[in-house]
């Protein structure tokens, strides 16, 4: 009976795992980058000085003209206050894909002259929508369900060896055995994290899985909403925008009296009110508690804190999933765990292909599957590295620069997928894997020299942490890719 169950679960684990795994690899890989979105934005705007002066609330008023301009354009601008993680005052708005950000000096409120970039939030958008709006969000949410199914079946398959094989890694054994060990170690050791991410991620997107309207209507909405939001910008807001805003320093002080000293994080501007909300760094409970002020004379309108057990459950799961409350150490733990989740999907896909190569190696479907695997497992990291290269090599004065960075990312990813597919269809998939892994190694290896050459004010012995960490991770990825390509 148990053997039958294991066999059946094996089938389910393999097919659902492979079908959703290629997408989930991208979700986990982009997710582990999104954990460091703010730090990556600092890498992507190298002109901003690494050290800044202390924050002065009076500096907020210097940002107000830019806020007004964005409101007139129909955007919803907000100011992010300086924190231990990011020392700048930032004016941000969502362009339909990512949060575009302009840093300001936290002491004087003077705008810092930096390049326009999609920033680290590019990976955040990629993580949960695959840059396809509500349509992508729905696909990712269903992939999350598939992940829960794969985890369940995986546990049943591996129940016997769950403890004894916990740390059994044999990288020098036969190839299939070695990949199986990599898969099991990545999956079992990081099971709590993967389970938490799968569950909380699916829970957060429950609305797309169980829409309040019929599925047909929600699919229609998805296609309608996935179009870029540029047309919305021309629309005039229904409420008139005040020509001047009240000074923000007293408003922040008033909000801190309610929320707590040093607990304010964001100031969101809307034509009808100014919201000062709690920082996400305050704890795992992502309450977004806020105090609303009138944009005309600055009097308090209301204090909003959503109560209730269901709301708290949602807030805790969001807090655990987004990890905005964490310090650098915990953030690295999230990063490593996310990377191991990606390794789990990559190794699982490779095992799936290895097991079926002999019987189905000549079949068209198998070749397409292998081409897709190359495009996903190697293509996404290549695209991500190309994004960093594009950020440094595209002209600073380029029109729509953030969009151009995104286009470079997508172009490299598509190129990788097409090339992988061609090599696979030609019956030489190893050649495809090898070439792309060497390309990935090259992109990662030369990112450090590129950073050193293109970063203004770089000194050899003083490397700010965000730059050094990004370069080192790229270097490590290059070494792993090189070793894998060498052993193929």
């Amino acid at each position: 009976m148990q053997d039958t169950l294991r066999t059946r679960m094996g089938w389910l684990h393999a097919w659902v795992g492979f079908a959703a795994g290629l997408l989930l690899f991208c979700v986990f890989a982009s997710g582990c980058l999104a954990v460091f979105d703010t730090e990556l934005t600092r890498w992507l705007q190298p002109e901003a000085p690494p050290q800044t002066e202390a924050f002065s609330p009076q500096s907020l008023d210097h940002v107000l003209p830019a806020v007004h301009d964005l409101l007139v354009q129909g955007e919803k601008p907000f100011i992010t206050l300086p924190s231990a993680r990011d020392p700048y005052l930032r004016l941000e708005h969502h362009d339909g894909h990512e949060f575009l950000t302009v840093p300001y000096n936290p002491q004087t409120g003077e705008r810092l002259n930096v390049r326009a970039t999609a920033g680290g939030t590019f990976f955040y958008d990629l993580h949960y929508t695959m840059r396809s709006g509500v349509y992508g969000e729905t696909v990712v949410a269903f992939a999350g369900l598939a992940l829960l199914l794969t985890i369940g079946s995986g546990i049943i398959i591996h129940l016997k060896g769950l403890i004894s094989d916990l740390m059994l890694l044999r990288p020098f054994a036969a190839r299939l055995r070695a990949w199986l060990d990599v898969h099991v170690v990545a999956a079992v050791v990081f099971l709590p994290f993967i389970l938490l991410m799968a569950y909380s991620g699916t829970f957060i997107r429950a609305r797309t899985l169980f829409p309040p309207v019929s599925y047909f209507a929600s699919v229609e909405n998805a296609f309608r909403a996935s179009a870029p939001s540029t047309h919305q910008k021309s629309e005039k807001p229904a409420v008139s925008i005040p020509s001047t805003f009240p000074p923000l320093a007293p408003l922040v002080a008033e909000a801190e009296r309610t929320i707590g000293a040093g607990q304010t994080g964001y100031i969101l501007f809307q034509p009808q009110n100014i919201l000062i909300s709690r920082t996400d760094a305050s704890g795992p409970l992502l309450t977004r508690e806020h105090v609303d002020f009138s944009p005309v004379d600055g009097h308090v309108l209301r204090h909003v804190l959503l109560p209730g057990a269901i709301t708290h459950t949602e807030q805790v799961l969001k807090g655990l999933h987004y990890a905005r409350w964490t310090g650098a150490g915990m953030r690295w733990l999230y990063f490593i765990s996310g990377a191991m989740g990606a390794v789990m999907f990559a190794s699982g896909s490779i095992i799936f292909l290895m097991k079926r190569r002999r019987q189905s190696g000549e079949r068209l479907m198998f070749r397409i599957a292998e081409g897709l695997a190359i495009g996903s497992v190697v293509g996404l990291p290549m695209g991500a590295l190309a994004f960093f290269w594009a950020n440094r090599l595209l002209p600073v004065a380029l029109q729509d620069r953030p969009l151009a960075e995104g286009h470079v990312f997508l172009a490299i990813w598509v190129l990788s997928a097409v090339s992988g597919m061609v090599w696979s269809l030609l019956g030489r998939p190893f050649q495809g894997w090898k070439i792309q892994l060497f390309c990935l190694a090259g992109l990662g290896l030369f990112l450090t020299p590129l950073d050193v050459v293109t970063r203004p004010g770089v000194t050899f012995f003083h490397v700010p942490t965000v730059f050094a960490a990004t370069d080192l991770v790229a270097f490590f990825l290059a070494l792993v890719s090189f070793q894998m390509a060498r052993r193929l």
């Binding site: 740390m167 044999r170 990081f190 938490l196 964490t326 915990m330 765990s337």
Partner: protein
């Protein structure tokens, strides 16, 4: 600092756990040391020590830190054990080759 300390204690626990697994010992070509019998039950105290450390740092985030450090420690021990096994394998292989050569002479 707590994260590093917790990872270290978890590594210690997982190493002791690996020393109690016959499969792991066979893989690394090791014999179970006698003193491990006495440390058998003691090893289960270590996860509680890490949990206490996490709670002492910040109660609201203790469980995520506890779990995440376990995972990272598991990865470190798996990599370290694989390295040890490879080293011991090479050691045994070279010893066998030397014994064969001496036998022929």
């Amino acid at each position: 600092m707590t994260i590093i300390l917790c990872t270290f204690v978890w590594c210690l626990f997982l190493l002791l756990q690996a020393c109690h697994e016959p499969k792991m010992l066979r893989y690394a070509r090791l014999q179970k040391p006698a003193w491990l019998q006495r440390a058998g039950v003691f090893r289960f105290v270590l996860p509680l020590v890490t949990l206490a450390l996490c709670f002492a740092e910040r109660a609201s985030t203790a469980v995520p830190v506890w779990i995440a450090t376990f995972s990272v420690a598991g990865l470190l021990v798996a990599l370290g054990w694989a390295g040890l096994a490879r080293y011991r394998e090479l050691l045994v292989t070279s010893a066998n080759v030397r014994a064969k050569t001496l036998g022929k002479e």
